[in-house]
């Protein structure tokens, strides 16, 4: 494992399905900060769930004009069911085919386990990674690091 991409790196572009008939490209989000949250799997135990936590914190992220995106190797139907059950209000991308390709491009793929690491990236409006963090797979990294990184961008609106 070479490690996750570090600050100063241009964020590799990608296009992934966000639902059965819709795709999302990173380059479409140029002009605003983007938070990429790679995570191992949908349906982890509920109360400590990282995506559920971020869902609650969305208004804080929005204060910085930032777009949050969750990415895992789960397929679109799985994401749809999970997002519906947890009332998630941000897109979940399916890094499903070829499996984990985008996670690999960010150095955030756990080869042995076959799923994404818990890796966070904050990308500025020009597509440059300004902050990244790899959390142990069993530890929900919370959001304090993301908020500090957004603050540093001086992107407050």
């Amino acid at each position: 494992m070479a490690g996750i991409l570090t600050p100063g790196t241009l964020a590799p572009d990608f296009t992934l399905p966000v639902s059965l008939d819709r795709k999302l490209s990173l380059k479409d989000l140029r002009g605003k900060p983007v938070i990429l949250a790679f995570y191992p799997a949908d349906w982890s135990p509920v109360c400590g769930d990282q995506m559920a936590l971020y869902n609650e914190i969305l208004p804080e992220f929005e204060k910085y004009g930032a777009q949050l995106i969750g990415i895992s190797v789960d397929g679109v139907w799985c994401h749809a069911a999970y997002a519906k059950d947890h009332h998630l209000h941000f897109p979940l991308l399916a890094d499903f085919e070829p499996k984990g390709a985008v996670s690999r491009a960010y150095g955030a793929y756990h080869q042995d386990a076959g799923f994404s690491e818990r890796a966070l990236f904050v990308i500025n409006k020009d597509g440059l990674i300004t902050w990244s963090y790899l959390s142990p797979i069993g530890v929900n990294p919370g959001a304090d690091g993301i908020l500090e990184a957004l603050e540093e961008l001086g992107a407050a609106v």
Binding site: C47, G48, A52, I57, H87, V139, P141, A143, D144
Partner: protein, 174 residues
Amino acid sequence: MTRLAIPVGAKDHRQGDQEAPCTLVEYGDYQCPSCGQAYPIVKRLQKHFGKRLAFVFRNFPLTQLHPFAEPAAETAEFAGAHHKFWEMHDLLYENQKRLSDQLLLQLPQQLNLDPDELAEALQSGQFEPRVKADFTAGVRSGVNGTPTFFINGQRHDGSYDYESMVEAIDRILE
């Protein structure tokens, strides 16, 4: 990164002495089953450590998962405004499985509080800013789910079963 962003202060709901050598802070959600499991554990810890341990509860309602978490938190704050925070906190956890809008309005009577006043406070969102302030400070402190515990300001990342908590607190007290 994993330290309490806002130190324990006068605005907090605290059980035990301000000068206690160990202060345990819980960020919790009244409808979260894991917090429900932690509730009797905290009681046992308080009994075990006595005056050496102070306990502080702060709100961290996961409103998208738990529809009654926010009104329950506001109900506890309402009781707090009448100096009955802990009585309501305990009632909420002891009735966690039955939480409903109706139940919330029945609980004040058990504490000789006015249910109509609570209904009005919930309606007007009187205690919403307080709950939100707890939540925001929690996020800044690295709260990563419920319950999240801080022992003397440091996030406790281990398990929160009784034995693990005793061990973690003993380390502080040594």
